[in-house]
């Protein structure tokens, strides 16, 4: 089964993707991650306004069988969360890069963006 890696995104070694526009980073999990988790049945998203440091727990995604912590790929303040996942957590499986996005962070340390992997760097992990 081929897993999709989008060329226009940044990545972490923990299988999160990041789409940066101006000072906002939209975060989600990759196709590989959703495939590993299988049916996602619950996404526990952070409160809007919460400050997170890079590497800290940002949110939790659960499958029937397991609990997966998702870590902040960059430091920032949570400005938006994907409410649609409340009723339809399986959207993360169906559309990990688009409708299944998790959180938007207002970046407070732009240098961290440069530290993220590009698509080629992420593909090397496999």
């Amino acid at each position: 089964m081929s897993e999709e890696v989008r060329d226009d995104l940044k990545y972490t070694t923990e299988h999160e993707w990041v789409r940066v526009k101006d000072h906002v980073a939209r975060v989600g999990i990759t196709d590989h991650a959703q495939h590993e988790l299988t049916d996602i049945v619950f996404a526990e998203l952070p409160e809007v306004g919460k400050d997170v440091k890079k590497g800290e727990e940002l949110c939790v995604v659960e499958s029937v069988k397991s609990v997966s912590e998702i870590y902040a790929p960059v430091s920032g303040k949570v400005v938006k969360i994907n409410d649609a996942l409340d009723d339809a957590p399986e959207t993360i499986n169906a559309s990990p890069y688009d409708d299944g996005w998790l959180v938007e962070l207002e970046i407070n340390n732009p240098d961290e963006v440069a530290q993220l992997l590009d698509a080629a760097g992420y593909k090397k992990l496999f």
Partner: protein
């Protein structure tokens, strides 16, 4: 060393995603845990249960050995009948739960995955200590167990055997020829649905039977089912999983297995149980359903008004109910059906309602569209 199921290659071709369980590499799922779970409730599924153990107990004192080491009086279990029971330590805690099958002059017990040596050694110790004339033969490496479970399971298997399955009652067991191969069939299962389990004495026979069941079951839309769904299916029916429900040392009284205790015979652990029964303050297994969001997991603390009253032994998302469900050991004063307890999930209080077992009623599928 991790053992592979003899059906590994077959399952790989069926797109199994494997996981390690009790030292065995087994299919976790083939398509999705939820789909496989609902498949079994609504139609029929085929399980590879080869990781579980098989032990023959034979000899003039075979029945006596079982009577001594389990909470059942084995003389009450007639030929071609099986019984669910537990093997206890002297202190009354459960070593393992198992089914034992009476097959003519032999008994077969089915210890859990990875428990065959512990159970066999324990039994052997009692044979010596009590001077019994019984032989214990661990055939776990040879035997493969398959399970066919779901409303269509009888029809699927009837195509493959001359045994009239309508005459094989609940918990009955017998030798049979299935798909041209000899094996032991029992009207038993771990899903709460109509179903049968097959004890097959070789990997070669098992591969043939597995293949033929999938072929004959095609007309009933049979699918292979992984361990992920096996766990959600059993938890919806409040069946115990040894690794979870017996962790830390639990007695059959705590695990709500009093119904399986036959007090009219002497057995190892009886004195300890009588003392525990008299004292009465032991935690008891309790069924909790989460009306809101949140999935309880093994190890979550259970509280009442901020006070610690118990711990979750098994938790998951119920595919039938789409709600979190759990079994938890709870202090006897806080177990009223209908009352609310708080399950501590990642530091948050998640309210849960105490319900009567099972979480999902018999014939649930007939209530669905």
């Amino acid at each position: 060393m991790v053992k592979k199921s003899p059906l590994y290659e077959v399952q790989k071709k069926l797109n199994a995603k494997f996981t390690e369980f009790a030292g065995f590499e087994m299919p976790l799922l083939f398509s999705s845990i939820k789909d496989e779970h609902l498949q079994v409730r609504k139609t029929v599924g085929l399980f590879d249960v080869s990781h579980m153990s098989n032990v023959w107990i034979t000899g003039p004192d075979a029945e006596r050995l079982l009577t001594l080491t389990t909470i059942e009086d084995a003389s009450r279990i007639g030929n071609n009948k099986s019984q669910y029971t537990t093997i206890l330590r002297d202190d009354g805690t459960i070593i393992d739960d198992t089914i034992f099958m009476h097959l003519d002059d032999k008994f077969m017990i089915i210890p859990n995955a990875g428990m065959d040596e512990i159970v066999t050694e324990w039994m052997q110790k009692q044979v010596k200590k009590h001077h019994l004339d019984a032989t214990i033969d661990n055939v776990s490496d040879q035997y493969v167990i398959l399970a066919v479970q779901g409303p269509k399971s009888k029809e699927v298997l009837q195509e493959l055997t001359d045994v009239d399955l309508s005459k094989v009652g609940f918990f009955a067991c017998q030798y049979a020829t299935i798909a041209g191969e000899t094996c032991i069939i029992s009207h038993t299962g771990y899903t709460g649905e109509l179903g049968y389990e097959l004890q097959i004495s070789s990997a070669e026979k098992a591969k043939k039977i597995f293949d033929k069941i999938l072929k004959s079951g095609k007309q009933f839309d049979i699918k292979p089912i992984g361990l992920g769904a096996r766990d959600t299916l059993r938890l919806e029916k409040c069946f115990l999983l040894a690794g979870n429900e017996f962790e830390g040392g639990r007695s059959p009284l705590e695990a709500i297995l009093s119904w399986a205790i036959n007090w009219d015979h002497d057995f190892i652990g009886k004195e300890a149980l009588l003392k525990q029964k008299e004292q009465g303050t032991y935690q008891r297994l309790t069924c909790l359903k989460v009306p809101g969001k949140g999935i309880p997991r093994h190890g979550n603390d259970v509280q009442k008004d901020g006070k610690a009253v118990g711990v979750v032994s098994s938790g998951t998302l119920s595919p039938c109910l789409n709600k979190g469900i759990a079994m938890a050991y709870v202090h006897p004063d806080y177990r009223g059906v209908g009352d609310t307890l708080d399950i501590m999930i990642r530091g948050k209080k998640v309210p849960a309602e105490i319900v009567k077992p099972p979480f999902v009623a018999k014939d649930w599928s007939t209530t669905q569209e």
